[in-house]
């Protein structure tokens, strides 16, 4: 049973526009969420995170929104750049400190 779901396998966005990547989770014990970015043949790298006590965290062009009641989070990239083309993984941690649980990823393509 998937506890972290990224229902869109891929997303195409024009350069300069907003990219919105979505993530849903089922485990109400999750209290910390992270987004990772992965280029082909490389390991994922940390992008941005949010604690469950917040509903928004911003870092430059990247903003993560958390809606706890809906068990939903989203990553906004504004403006999108060709270098943002990568696979984005949503990950979640529960309060019991078990290992990170990852979604299946969304492949973002930013078209110039």
């Amino acid at each position: 049973d998937q506890q972290v779901k990224q229902n869109s396998p891929s997303l195409s966005v024009q350069e300069g526009r907003i990219s919105i990547l979505n993530c849903d989770y089922t485990n109400s014990m999750f209290d910390y969420f992270l987004w990772y970015k992965k280029y082909p043949a490389e390991g994922p790298t940390f992008l941005i995170s949010i604690s469950s006590i917040k509903d928004k965290n911003e870092d430059g062009r990247f903003t993560v929104f958390l809606n706890k009641s809906a068990k939903h989070l989203s990553l906004h990239i504004v403006p999108s750049q060709p270098g943002d083309s990568a696979v984005y993984f949503c990950a979640a941690w529960d309060s019991g400190n078990t290992p990170l649980v990852f979604g299946k990823g969304t492949r973002l393509s930013v078209i110039a």
């Binding site: 990224q6 396998p9 910390y32 992270l34 990772y36 043949a41 490389e42 390991g43 994922p44 790298t45 940390f46 995170s49 993984f89 990950a91 941690w93 400190n97 290992p99 990170l100 649980v101 990852f102 979604g103 299946k104 990823g105």
Partner: protein, 116 residues
């Protein structure tokens, strides 16, 4: 600074052959270590994790095993590879033993394993 090394970068192995992938971490001590696999079209699946030497937790019953013979060394093995073992294998570490690292895990560069 801490670094994580994973090798080899690519590997092509015949079905039934053994496997050994190695991961080492530098610049830290007593890290938590993890092996993940990304199969084609699938997400990051946790295979094993270790909180200390000789301590291995298995998440998914499978054809693979893991060992941690030294504090900063994590090895993924198989006695006989299956076609379904093909994938991208990632090693990761975390320096936080209790609680959470704000940045989650740090991943190695991965090993692309193709079983033929």
């Amino acid at each position: 600074s801490q670094t994580i090394h994973q090798w080899p970068a690519t590997l092509v192995q015949p079905v039934g052959s053994p496997l050994s992938l190695e991961c080492t971490v530098e610049g830290t001590s007593n890290p938590n270590l993890y092996w993940y696999r990304q199969a084609a079209g699938r997400g990051l699946q946790l295979l094993f994790y270790s909180v200390g030497i000789g301590q291995i937790s298995s998440e998914v019953p499978q054809n693979l095993s893991a060992s941690r013979p030294q504090d900063r060394q994590f090895i993924l093995s198989s006695k006989k590879l299956l076609l379904s073992d093909s994938g991208f294998y990632l090693c990761a570490w975390s320096g936080v033993k209790k609680g959470k690292s704000l940045y989650g895990y740090t991943f190695g560069s991965g090993t692309r394993l193709t079983v033929v």
